[in-house]
Amino acid sequence: MVKKYNKGSRIEYRKRDILFTAGLWLVSLILPDPHLPYRREFIKKRDFFYVGALLLLPLILSGPLVYLMVLAGIYAIVALGLSLFLGYAGQISLGHAAFFGIGAYTTAILTTRYAVSPLEAFGASALAAAVCAYLIGKPILKLKGYFLALATLGFGEIFLVMVRESRSLTGGVSGIFGVPWFSVAGFAFDTSLKQYYLVWGVLIALVLFAKNLVRSKMGRTLLAVAASEDAAASVGINVAQVKVRVFVLSAAFAGLAGSLFACVLSTANPQGFGLGLSVLVVMMVIMGGMGNLYGPIFAAIFLTWLTDVLGGFQEYSLPIYGVILILLLIFFPDGVGTRLNERLIYLISYWGRKRRRERVDI
């Protein structure tokens, strides 16, 4: 028989062990958790299909479309983070463009002024966005509905004014130029094909993280808060804390995306981080379906493509964009995918019932 471990004995740790554990913890964020039940469901067959399609897509697409997919991937990262806050926790944010901008400006300032490597700036961007989100989220997340929407929108506007006015730090309206390409250990992502794999690689890692999160206790808590805050509080959930946490997390996602954005466009200027971007990202989440992780990514690809196509109509682009936005909201308020799926399932089941009915009749 194996000797039982003596509780009183002192365990010796080495620094290496702690580093190893930290690494394991980081990996465990991305890898499926083996202790979860329904392990088989974590990665489905369709996921392999999606990843394969992503890997092979640049073979089919031409140059500009690959660049468009890079942008779509960046917006998809923001949409994924916002999906946790908006789709799962049921809160409203019209200020995520500000966190995106904070990420972009952190990277731009650190790499151009202080010669920090892009990889470190990447981490710093997420950290900066998360800290800002914590400071702003702590007071305003007790608001609901219209007031939360307005407060986050107000934060976005304040951010824009600060960026425009603090010229010595951010370069004012013209912004910062010459942000270096993203590079890891001397390997620079300097073509749009390499950037494509970089952005979508980051996105896949974040999707796995988000999937883990959604299936964890935290994810269930988010759903409970979205369903009813009073009920969630009555079963012992610290509602305020949960909201702040998910806000910080989604802001960190937006910060990462902003950092990639600055590296890909090699510039950061305030035009890109206004209310327009916030509205676009929220539209991605709505179109993808609330409480859904894959939907916002598809919606990000679709809406990025749509804005690019509409850009060809010159001055007519924005009115048409607004009309399409309203029509999508009127006809697909639960998201395009969700609504179509429901209809499809209804039709199939109707067809099945019909066949069964006919069989019974005979």
Binding site: P139, L150, G154, F155, E157, P319, G322, L325
Partner: protein
């Protein structure tokens, strides 16, 4: 340099600005009193009021008062259309969907107006000359007095409408107790329809009054609408008196802040005021019938 010597002049400017914010805020309150809907396109009504008047004067050659009247009527029709095409189909949708739909409507309205009337800022002649009056060392443009007078007149008209007429009371009932309103035979959707018209009218009047003082361009509506909403929240959400008080408070604070901080930060002041009031007194200065003081 002593910043305090500019304070009286800035106060005068702030009160004018406050009157404009109050008019925009009243537009928000009218709709909220009828339906708990927040119309993010409210600022566009203000912009349209100025731009369409300009178009009627220069394009159609109408005299000034007639052009202003025609513009207000046109904007009221646009308000009705906004309800019929955007808000009515979404009457059962969630808050988020309505916000996004009205934001979409505001994108459509402002950019269509840019297409139709051009992107250049428009300026109208003042109602009664632009010779400034001297009042104890402060210079006041007569148009400012027009704006102030119109604000108070509209405030009293709206007060009368909502407290002394059957339609106004029906509007309020359909917001505070939808089921009760239905049971007593109030056509709730029609009330919201009317509210959108009245709100668009108030917005358009504000636009006509503002354009002689500031240049109105196609993209001026968004920021003006946001500040009007902030004014309505600061004063007390859903109250006419709160909207007017909030407008003046916001205008004065924003204007006097110029004396102490760089002018570029002026637009951020309103949002800082908003965050402070939402944190410390969410129901606004005068209190709000729609917001529970504990949580909402």
């Amino acid at each position: 340099m002593n910043p305090w010597i500019h304070i009286p002049q800035l106060l005068a400017a702030g009160i004018t600005m406050g009157a404009i914010y109050a008019l925009v805020a009243l537009g928000f309150v009218i709709i909220v009193r009828a339906s708990q809907i927040l119309n993010f396109a409210q600022g566009e009504f203000v912009m349209l009021g100025g731009v369409v008047t300009f178009f009627f004067i220069t394009g159609a050659g109408l005299p000034y008062p007639l052009a202003a009247l025609a513009a207000v009527l046109a904007v009221i029709v646009i308000g009705f259309l906004l309800h019929l095409l955007v808000v009515y189909p979404l009457r059962k949708a969630s808050v988020l969907i309505l916000i996004m739909a009205t934001v979409g409507a505001s994108i459509v309205i402002s950019n269509t107006s840019a297409l139709l009337f051009g992107t250049l800022p428009k300026a109208l002649p003042p109602f009664s000359g632009d010779l400034p009056l001297e009042l104890g060392g402060i210079r006041i443009v007569p148009q400012n007095l027009w704006v102030l007078g119109a604000t108070f007149l509209l405030f009293f008209v709206l007060y009368f409408l909502s407290h002394r007429t059957l339609v106004g009371k029906a509007m309020e009932a359909s917001s505070t107790d939808p089921l009760g309103a239905d049971l007593s035979g109030i056509a709730r959707n029609f009330m919201v329809f009317l509210a959108f018209g009245v709100s668009a009218g108030v917005g358009a009047i504000a636009g006509v009054l503002v354009t002689p003082i500031f240049y109105t361009s196609y993209n001026a509506g968004t920021l003006l609408g946001l500040k009007g909403f902030i004014a309505a929240v600061v004063g007390g959400w859903g109250k006419n008196s709160g909207a007017v008080l909030g407008g003046f408070v916001l205008g004065v604070v924003e204007s006097t802040s110029i004396a102490f901080i760089p002018a570029g930060y002026k637009d951020a002041v309103a949002f800082v005021v908003l965050l402070l009031i939402l944190y410390f007194r969410p129901k606004g200065i005068l209190g709000s019938p729609y917001i529970d003081s504990r949580r909402w």
